[in-house]
């Protein structure tokens, strides 16, 4: 037990370190590549700016005689630059630094330019990074662009260094925690292990000697009994002892029956009563609160969580330090670049004959450049006094010093003499924000790694320890109550398994013995009656013992987690992936086209949900689970190959189908594995695991798309779905409740009857549908497009969208507590809707990265408040006005209608966004949310007035 647990701990810490190390490296590469691309884009921008006057005049770029010389200047700013091309709107290269100028820019560049709504854009291939900038005329017409090719060497070199550092650190942390795990586990499990060993020895001892041990315990057992799991082990010991006695009694009974003797005091009615008692005992053993397995799991889980968290935090901190160290030179290079660009440009003007104090328009020229590098707050050219300046000074000063805050000063030379120098102010707040961003990125990665590791730990602990223990307990309890009907086929590799096998063997032996006697006494009715009595008493059967089936949610939760993560990996980049695809035959404008994959996915969920239960009854939960992963897997592979929007929509419909079937079958399976009392808790656990998967998928999807390429993320999703299917096929047994349920039939939700209830309608249109529209139209659709248009990378988008799910996870329980203590659920729902709506409205009015982030957060908090209140409010309606329909039907209808409403809302928002822009789309979501809140609030006020009036009348 101890060794196996240690192995599990060690393995899981290795997993957390591996996953975290891998993700840290990816995150580092994403950050570094982003910084590098931003820097190179400044070079592209300054070059593109030079061509702008030409495009403003409506002249083709090719008409510029000194175009080659203009693009070649970029090489002076950074010798690592591979090439610079200026190209026209069709992609034909018109000026280049390459001697053998290619005819056109690579398709990847044109695609990046076409897809970008910002003026600067970038792309990455296995050979190089491309950073480009549009050359747009005053009227907004694109005359072409400038693209700078930068070799990946620098990125790869830095990446290799970070891989080495991270790998060594991870290895050291693994060794440390693995070593630490041994004494901790020994402390925790040593005593119970010794006690179990003692139990085993006792069990295997010849019966005569065993009787000498008083109470089946004493000696070493008492050590265990005094330990952490004392009462449970004591009970197991008693059960094992009792089981042994029952075994002896059963054998004796069988022998007596065969010999025509009836044991004293054994009467038919008593026999039945004992079997009944046995059943009670069996359920008693399965009672989770008294189960040793559950107790061990509850003890191990926090220790495991602590180990996982600490080891992850340690590596996270080390990686944070390494990443910050790694990006520091790049940040310095950016500052150096801007200094070089300023001094080169000013020198060029001076060389042309313009006096330093007559440089016209330089401020706005540099001001444009500043917007690309936010950490550079201020640029000035000084001779001792400031000659020209752009941006805002961080510290006002009288005389500009040559060197400020370790920033290199760039001299401006004329005729071999230095006549001025460049002053650059770096905004420390922006630099620290950059580091805070890195910290947040790393925190996300740590959090996701911990979640993944925890799920693996739960599964492994269950498989290696608690499930075996639980089986032993169940068998022992059954046999202690005289029930020998079950056996368990397992390999005996530890004391627990050996004991289980011994018990199972006893059941097999007894049933076999009974079967032989049964066939022998075929002719004697009396003999058979005696045997029947014994069989009844000890639950024996002539067909032998049946296998003991154990089903645990833990067998399923890793699969569920992986499936949810796989499903949500593409969430943040799906609109961008769709935008890059051909429109195909769909006659919609782009904004609507981009919403169709999401709408198709939701529609599939709506249509398939009523089918899930009948299908599960027909095929079995396990088979449905495995089968439902097939369309999900096919859909992810299909999405990898999809090139047109209709294909993407089709595959997304299939994804929705798979998702609906898998999650609903999982939910039913979970409900089947627990008894009534534990259902609410099990459902809570199910939702937690599902959300953890969704959260991890969303958070990682962005960074994975950024580093691996969007289409490859679908392959990763496919691999995760396949892994989930394998886990289900290997680990999950057929569910068994012992409780017969009527076969479910496909029933359409009672839409019309529910809609007749005014309260239901207010709930649906005031809270449920607006909340769903916020999730589907804002979080899953608009956020990606808005942040992309503001120049955010997919990694940034993923991190931002994740905030929503984080808010839901964190605020949900708090809101729940608030609802039970200080606030009514109705007030909570109203506040939530108002909060979400207002946050969205602010972002719609002032679209900025910060306001959008706040809107995401507001939407998450608002949704959490709405979620907590929605079910109690719906239950209230279901228990009063719609009592005749039943709570399940009312809740089911609410779910269906809110999804249908969110599809309609999504399409409306997409149409508005297409016609009037993303801000208008966001305003529409805000209006729907606030409108819903107003409707809900008005209804609330009216009903309060009525109840007051009724109260007064009474």
């Amino acid at each position: 037990m101890l060794f196996r647990s240690w192995l599990t701990f060690s393995f899981v810490i290795a997993v957390v370190q591996t996953v975290l190390a891998g993700l840290s490296v990816l995150q580092h590469d994403a950050i570094f590549s982003d910084l590098l691309r931003q820097r190179v884009s400044v070079i592209a921008q300054t070059t593109a700016t030079a061509f702008k006057p030409l495009v403003d005049l409506g002249m083709p770029l090719s008409m510029m005689r000194n175009g080659d010389a203009v693009v070649a200047r970029a090489l002076d700013t950074d010798p690592e630059i591979e090439f610079v091309h200026a190209f026209d709107a069709s992609g034909a290269i018109v000026h280049s630094t390459m001697a053998d100028r290619p005819r056109s820019v690579p398709p990847v560049v044109l695609k990046a330019m076409r897809l970008s709504t910002a003026r600067g854009w970038s792309a990455e291939t296995s050979q190089r990074l491309y950073s480009g900038f549009d050359i747009k005329s005053r009227s907004g017409e694109i005359g072409g662009g400038v693209v700078v090719g930068y070799p990946r060497d620098r990125l790869e070199e830095v990446s290799r260094a970070i891989v080495r550092k991270t790998a060594w650190t991870a290895l050291a942390i693994w060794a440390l925690f693995s070593a630490l795990a041994w004494p901790v586990l020994r402390l925790l499990l040593g005593a119970p292990q010794r006690a179990l060993g003692h139990l085993e020895r006792t069990l295997l001892e010849p019966e005569g000697r065993r009787d000498a041990v008083p109470g089946g315990g004493g000696g070493e057992l008492s050590v265990g009994a005094r330990g952490l799991f004392g009462p449970e082990i004591e009970r197991l010991g008693r059960n094992l002892d009792e089981a042994a006695q029952q075994y002896a009694r059963a054998r004796e009974d069988l022998d007596n029956a065969a010999a025509g003797r009836v044991r004293d005091g054994l009467a038919g009615s008593e026999a039945g009563g004992l079997v009944e008692g046995a059943r009670v005992a069996m359920h008693g053993a399965a009672d989770p609160s008294r189960s040793l397995a559950r107790r061990v799991a509850t003890r191990l889980a926090p220790v495991a969580a602590l180990f996982i968290l600490l080891s992850a935090l340690l590596l996270g901190l080390a990686s944070l330090r390494d990443v910050n160290q790694s990006i520091e030179p790049e940040l310095a290079a950016r500052t150096h670049l801007i200094g070089s660009v300023v001094s080169d440009n000013v020198q060029r003007a001076l060389a042309a004959g313009v006096p330093l104090d007559r440089l016209v328009g330089a401020e706005s020229f540099f001001g444009d450049m500043l917007t690309r590098l936010p950490e550079v707050a201020y640029i000035a050219v000084a001779t001792g006094r400031i000659v020209l300046e752009a941006g805002e000074r961080i510290d006002p000063y009288l005389a500009p010093p040559r060197e400020r805050k370790d920033v290199r000063s760039h001299p401006i030379m004329q005729d071999g003499e230095e006549i001025a120098y460049v002053v650059i102010d770096i905004d420390p707040a922006i630099i620290s924000k950059r580091f805070v961003d890195v910290f947040l990125d790393m925190s996300v990665v740590v959090l996701v790694s911990v979640l993944i590791a925890f799920e693996i730990m739960v599964l492994l602990t269950s498989r290696s320890l608690t499930a075996g223990l639980d089986r032993l307990q169940r068998l022992a309890a059954m046999q202690a109550a005289g029930d020998f009907s079950r056996r368990a086929g397992i390999a005996a590799s530890g004391s627990i398994d050996r004991m289980t096998r011994l018990l199972a063997d006893r059941a097999v032996v007894l049933n076999g013995h009974f079967a032989r006697l049964w066939s022998k006494t075929r002719s004697s009715a009396e003999g058979r009656a005696a045997l029947e009595q014994v069989a009844g008493r000890h639950a024996l059967s002539s067909s032998g013992a049946t296998p003991l089936r154990t089903t645990y949610f833990t067998d399923l939760r890793l699969a569920l987690f992986l499936f949810a993560a796989a499903d949500h990996l593409p969430l943040v980049f799906l609109p961008l992936y769709t935008r890059a695809a051909e429109a195909g035959w769909l006659p919609f404008e782009q904004a609507v086209l981009l919403s169709l994959p999401l709408a198709g996915y939701l529609l599939a969920i709506v249509l398939v949900s009523p089918l899930a239960r009948p299908l599960a009854d027909w095929l079995g939960r396990r088979s449905l689970l495995v089968l439902a992963t097939i369309p999900a897997l096919a859909a992810q592979i299909g999405l990898f190959y999809a090139t047109s929007v209709p294909e993407i929509v089709g595959w997304r419909v299939l994804t929705g189908l798979g998702y609906a079937l898998v999650t609903l079958a999982c939910q039913d399976y979970v409900l089947d594995t627990v008894t009534g009392r534990e259902r609410a808790q099990a459902m809570g656990l199910f939702t937690t695991v599902l959300f953890a998967g969704i959260f991890s998928g969303t958070a990682l999807g962005g960074v994975l798309a950024d580093r691996l390429g969007q289409e490859n993320v679908f392959l990763l999703s496919a691999a995760l779905v396949a892994a989930a299917a394998l886990l289900v096929a290997r680990l999950v047994g057929p569910s068994e409740t012992g409780i017969e349920r009527p076969r479910a039939r496909m029933r359409l939700p009672p839409i019309l009857p529910t809609l007749r209830s005014r309260r239901f309608c207010v709930l649906l249109f005031g809270i449920a549908i607006p909340n769903n529209i916020v999730l589907q139209a804002f979080i899953s659709y608009l956020v990606t497009l808005i942040l992309d248009s503001l120049g955010a990378s997919t990694a940034d988008i993923g991190r931002s969208v994740m905030l929503y799910f984080l808010a839901v996870i964190v605020v949900g329980p708090v809101a729940g507590r608030a609802a039970s203590r200080w606030l009514s659920v109705t007030s909570l729902a109203l506040l939530g809707a108002m909060l979400g709506g207002s946050a969205l409205l602010v972002a719609a009015l002032v679209p900025h990265e910060i306001t959008v982030l706040l809107a995401i957060l507001g939407a998450g908090v608002g949704d959490a408040m709405g979620r907590v209140s929605l079910v109690p409010m719906a239950m209230n309606v279901a228990e009063n006005e719609l009592q005749h329909l039943g709570a399940n039907a009312v809740l089911g209808t609410l779910r269906t209608l809110e999804r249908v409403g969110s599809i309609a809302g999504l399409l409306v928002v997409a149409t508005v966004a297409g016609q009037l822009g993303y801000a208008a789309g966001m305003a529409t979501v805000a209006a729907l949310s606030l409108g819903g809140a107003a409707l809900f609030g008005a209804h609330l006020a009216a009903s309060r007035k009525t109840s007051v009036a009724i109260g007064a009348a009474r």
């Binding site: 030079a50 005049l57 409506g58 002249m59 008409m63 000194n66 203009v70 313009v354 016209v360 020229f365």
Partner: protein, 334 residues
């Protein structure tokens, strides 16, 4: 019928140089020039020589006297010229006429003609469109940017600019055409056009002495930029005109680079004259060497334009180019 005749002419044209080459004789190219063999003419000659084509380039200068054209056209016919290069709008109109009087007496309608330095070949009806001249024996080059570009260029240089001065010469078709075009464009471009006509002297020819007076008048009307337009006269007297402009505090925008590089215009948006001559030679080579029919060739557009700023003039005028402009402009200090 007309189509057939054009086809026959074209077939003859295509066959003629080949016959001459077979006979071992040099091809004859006659260049009809307006004011001597300047950079365009030199560029043309250089490119023909480089090409290795066995051709003799015969230069005939009318010295701005269009009355000499008839005799030169006759001479070209007599020497059985294989191709004629025409320099400027006046010369080209004198040699090939417009699309409406192409067959008139004294017009070359069979010998291939390549025109160059024609400010507006379509407005003057020398050619039909960029796709082709619309005549079997004529092709040419185009070396200007749209007039709006010149106006926008000034605006980029000087965001305050709102009044454009122009001096035009009623004796030159192209000059008058340009005046009318700008008159129409000005309101659309949001500027006021102040156009003054050069007075004629006693001989009916424009009086150069009138230039400073007109410039003074422009200055009095707050005009700070004057556009050279399309006057061969002003171009020919560029030194006098641009110097006078600077003296009156007026900047000259020229569609010809040499006025900035060698004289006192402040700014030009133009191709190099030498490059334009080479482009005309390319058109000639397509006809003479490749056997292409002139009428089938599109009008060749000059590329490689550049902004050229005369920094000395900028200094004198106290109007230095803006910073962004300097990043792409070529500057000269003369």
């Amino acid at each position: 019928m007309r189509g057939l005749a054009q086809w026959l002419i074209a077939a003859l044209l295509a066959a003629a140089p080949a016959e001459r080459t077979l006979a071992g004789e040099s091809l004859k190219i006659v260049g009809i020039l307006y004011r001597g063999c300047e950079q365009v003419c030199q560029g043309f000659a250089a490119r023909i020589e480089e090409s290795g084509l066995d051709a003799e380039f015969v230069k005939r200068d009318i010295a701005q006297d269009t009355s000499r054209l008839a005799a030169i056209v006759e001479e070209a016919r007599a020497m059985e010229a294989d191709l004629v290069l025409t320099w400027g709008t006046s010369v080209t109109l004198g040699v090939v006429g417009t699309l409406d009087d192409a067959e008139g007496p004294g017009r070359l309608s069979t010998i291939p003609v390549v025109f160059t330095i024609v400010a507006d070949p379509f407005g003057t009806r020398i050619a039909e469109s960029f796709a082709g001249s619309g005549r079997a024996n004529v092709t040419g080059t185009f070396n200007r940017v749209p007039e709006a570009v010149y106006v926008e260029t000034i605006r980029q240089y000087d965001p305050e600019f709102d009044k454009l001065g122009l001096l035009y010469n009623r004796n030159e078709v192209n000059s008058v055409l340009k005046f009318k075009e700008l008159q129409k464009l000005a309101p659309m471009l949001g500027i006021e056009l102040v156009a003054l006509e050069l007075a004629s002297g006693d001989d009916g020819a424009p009086d150069l002495a009138d230039i400073p007076r007109l410039l003074k008048k422009l200055r009095e009307q707050d005009v700070s930029w004057v556009y050279l337009g399309s006057s061969s006269l002003l171009r020919q007297n560029g030194e006098f005109f641009t110097r006078a402009a600077v003296e009156h505090g007026i900047a000259v925008l020229s569609p010809y680079e040499d006025l900035v590089r060698e004289q006192n215009a402040l700014l030009s948006v133009a191709v190099r004259s030498h490059d334009l001559g080479r482009l005309a030679a390319e058109q000639a080579l397509k006809v003479l060497r490749d056997g292409k029919k002139p009428g089938d060739l599109p009008i060749a557009r000059a590329t490689d334009f550049a902004y050229v700023v005369n920094m000395e003039v900028a200094k004198q005028l106290g109007r230095f180019p803006p910073f962004a402009f300097l990043q792409i402009a070529e500057t000269v200090k003369k």
